[in-house]
Amino acid sequence: MNSGDVAFMLIATALVMFMTPGLALFYGGLVRSKNVLGTMMQSFISLGLISVIWVVYGYSLSFGPDIGGFIGGLKYLGLNGVGLQPGPYSDTIPDLLFCAFQLMFAIITPALITGAFAERMKFSAYLLFTVLWATLVYFPVCHWVWGGGWLGDLGALDFAGGTVIHINSGAAALVAAIMIGKRKGYGREAFHPHNLPMTILGASILWFGWFGFNAGSALAAGETATLAFFTTQVATGVAALSWVVAEWIVQGKPTTLGAASGAVAGLVAITPAAGFVGPVAAMIIGLIAGALCYGAVLFKNKAGYDDALDVVGVHGVGGLWGALATGLFASKAFNPGGADGLFYGNAHQFVVQAIGAGAAIAYSIVVTFIVLKIIDMLVGLRVDREEEVQGLDLAQHSEIGYSL
């Protein structure tokens, strides 16, 4: 046990927790005012719901003794045997602290997907979705990479969850956006963000919390945490610039929403690489992430699926780029515990990264489809037309966000 590591990880865990309310603000500002509460509630309630299932069985399925490389066993049901002494995942912090840190990751991942079906999903359907999706998609994929599963064994590098969290949620978002259908009025009405300052604040809180997410993934207050902290800052800053410059060139105006979106794209892209690459590589990762995700969002407008808040374009595409970039730029010179990437003479790492990303995309698409089909049959995914026009706030929660 190391008290420095314990103190650092307690704070990092709290920082990651704060990302979910940050996400609620980020998404809340982007929707129309009649849906602000319904949208924020979907993120916020994940803090409650996932905490419960994490204790009951989620941690065990993710980090329990490996079964066939696919899922964890039931040894830690009810956190049985997860104590205050260091456990199998770290020698210097309590097992329960590792469990708490990982809980915050499990909370934000389903919340990320809510951007895809924003402004039209039933709250009851969302709760079912969160439980089923976390159980059948998140816990297994988390196990594959971090819990002793097959992707970790294969040597896939995913420092803080590019594959587990962002590719996974991005792929699920694509399926969800297509299955639930377009918002009423899509293509005819303009869906203006109702409060961009709120979105900027949310993006800033995400950025702040992400230091816990990435640096904390080192699980120790040391060299690797410092590297991850620094690469996170650089990649994010560059990506914000990159998105803004790209849209300035293409559409003639630099927008604040572009800056905020670019920052999130940079955070997503650097996530798998944060503790494995140097600062210059982080700049290149951020530079490409900003412009690439902007391009992905433009493509969506042409492709015509209504991924309302661009989960696919930012988390899916940004996460995929980050996973592949880790296979290009990773260097043992920066982290001896990592691996060399393609640019350091190890093409194999790039192939492994691609396999990991491809497997997560395929698995997430298939299982998310099944989960949504089941929920649609049970309670229906979507609010009825009248409720959609009225807005989720009144229809689903009998509240309004603003009475001015």
Binding site: A190, E247, Q251, T255, L257, L298, N301
Partner: protein, 112 residues
Amino acid sequence: MKKIEAIIKPFKLDDVKEALNEIGITGMTISEVKGYGRQKGHKEIYRGAEYVVDFIPKVKLEIIVDASKAPQVVEKIRESAYTGKIGDGKIFVLPVEEVVRVRTGERDKDAI
């Protein structure tokens, strides 16, 4: 009596108000309105999606004056709201049948 309705650019409101004060106009009602004419709307961009917003913000003034004073008021508004660019607005002059001051019951000219 005449009612003068003027739709002007919001940033010109102070200039118009001062100009009308100079010629002894003692009261007016304003409201924030939206509309479009030849100026059309403006473009907004959110994450690459471009929207044309037709209705743009304007200020509407309503002033009741004696008929003899109306041409002077119209001219003052035109001078002070003028920028020369498209979208400067319009002025309407309408007849008014009766004016009553609520507090005293005074009518017409005395009530203005």
